[in-house]
Symmetry: C2
Subunit: 229 residues, 2 copies
C-alpha cells in the first residue's frame, strides 16, 4: 500500500499541511488507498530517503517522492487507468500555474493564522515553529498577526478572479474537481484545520466551493478536527 | 470573412485593447482570417447590434458576438476542425480562471499606464477617456500615476506564481500557447502598445514569455506600433 507522511498537530488526527491536503485529495481522486503517517516538523530524519526535509512525502515501495506537484504527476503517470487529475495533456500544463498560485495563497493566508498554528502544533514542534517562522517574518508571531483584521478586506478582494470563476462553474476543473481544485483547496483547508479565524463569508462563492470540496470523497476533508468557519 | 471591431488609438494601426488582443491571437491560433475594423471609444452606436458597448465584437455573418471569453468559446465551438484553444474539455474549464485573472491584471497595470493611454487615444476620445477613467479612479490621471514607481516592486512581486510557472514551461499551455496564454498576454501587449513604462525586466521569465508570444503567428503582435519595453 502507498504510504504518505502527513503533517500532524499535537492531536495526531489533526492534519494541517496545505501541501499534504493536495496530495490526500489527489490520492482519493484516483481511488488509491494510502496509509498516512502522522509526522511532526522536527522529525526531519525520517524523511531522509526522500533527499529533502518537507512533507508531503509519498512512499511507493522503494520510491520516495516529495513535492506535491511532483507527487500529482507521479500518480498521474504511474496509475494511468485511474481518473485523471488533469483531464488532458493541456490540462496538466494549465495546472502548473494553479499549483504556484496555491503556494502564494499559503503566504497570503499565513498572516491571519500564524499564531493559531502555534496553539496546535505538537509540544516538541513549538520552539521549532516559532523560531523558524519568526525568523522568516522578521517579528514575533504575536506582532505579525496583531493587525490581521485590517488585512482581511484586501485578502478577500485578492480572491476576485477566483470568486468570479467559481460563480460561473462549480469547480475550477468544471463540473467535477481536478487537481487544480485540490491545489487551491489546500490553503483554505489548512486554515480551517488550525484557526478559528473567519477568512471567508458564508455567501462567498469561494467558501461554497471549499465546502463542496469538503463533501467530496465521502467527506474525507470534513472528517478531521477543524473549525467550523 | 469574419470581422472584428478592434480598439484603435489616434493612429489607426495602433491597436491597444487587452481584450481585443486576446481575440486577435485566438483567431490567429485557429488560422481564421479576420478583417479588423479600427474602433474608437466614442463610437458606441456601431456596436449596437451586439447589444452592448464594449469591444472586442466579432461579426460572423449576421451574428454579433461580444466579450472576449465568449468569443473564444464561440470560435472553439463553431470551428471544431481548427486547432483547439483549450486543448480539451478540462482545459476549457481550467481556462476560465485565467481569463478572470487577466481581467484583474488589466486593473493592476492601469495605475502605471493610465496617463500614457491619454497621450495616444484619438482626439475625439480624449474627453471621454479622461472623464470616465477619472470618475473610476476618483482622482486626476496625473495624480493617479504620480507614484507609480513606488508600486512597481509590489506589482512585479505579484507576478511570482506566473513567473515560476513560466520558468518551468515555455507557455501556460505547455510547449505551445493556448487561450490562457493569449488572455494573460493581452494586458502586457496593451501596456507596451501605449506606454513607454518598463513594467518587466529583460531577464524576467514573464517578459521572455511575452516576447515568445510576440513572435507567434509570424510576429502578428509585434507588427503594430508599440514601445520596445
Amino acid at each position: 500500500m502507498l504510504r504518505m507522511y502527513d503533517l500532524a498537530a499535537a492531536e495526531p488526527e489533526r492534519r494541517f499541511s496545505p501541501y499534504c491536503w493536495r496530495s490526500r485529495l489527489a490520492l482519493a481522486h484516483k481511488d488509491l488507498p494510502v496509509e498516512t503517517i502522522p509526522w511532526r516538523f522536527t522529525e526531519k530524519e525520517v524523511l531522509s530517503p526522500s533527499g529533502q526535509l518537507l512533507v508531503p512525502v509519498l512512499v511507493d515501495g522503494d520510491r520516495w517522492i516529495s513535492d506535491s506537484l511532483t507527487i500529482a504527476n507521479y500518480l498521474e503517470d504511474t496509475f494511468p487507468d485511474t481518473p485523471s487529475l488533469f483531464g488532458s495533456a493541456a490540462g496538466r500544463a494549465l495546472t502548473h500555474y494553479y499549483s504556484r498560485f496555491a503556494d502564494s495563497l499559503v503566504g497570503a493566508i499565513f498572516p491571519f493564522v500564524a499564531l493559531d498554528i502555534l496553539d496546535h502544533v505538537a509540544e516538541e514542534d513549538r520552539d521549532y515553529f516559532r523560531t523558524t517562522r519568526e525568523k522568516r517574518v522578521g517579528t514575533t508571531l504575536e506582532a505579525f498577526v496583531s493587525d490581521r483584521d485590517t488585512k482581511l478586506s484586501d485578502f478577500r478582494k485578492s480572491l476576485t478572479p477566483l470568486r468570479l470563476t467559481l460563480k460561473a462553474q462549480p469547480f475550477l476543473g468544471g463540473d467535477r474537481p481536478l487537481y487544480a481544485d485540490y491545489a487551491l483547496f489546500g490553503p483554505f483547508q489548512w486554515a480551517r484545520c488550525i484557526s478559528p479565524y473567519k477568512l471567508l463569508d458564508e455567501d462567498d462563492p469561494v467558501r461554497q466551493w471549499r465546502d463542496r470540496l469538503l463533501d467530496c470523497f465521502g467527506g474525507l476533508a470534513r472528517a478531521v478536527p477543524a473549525y467550523d468557519v
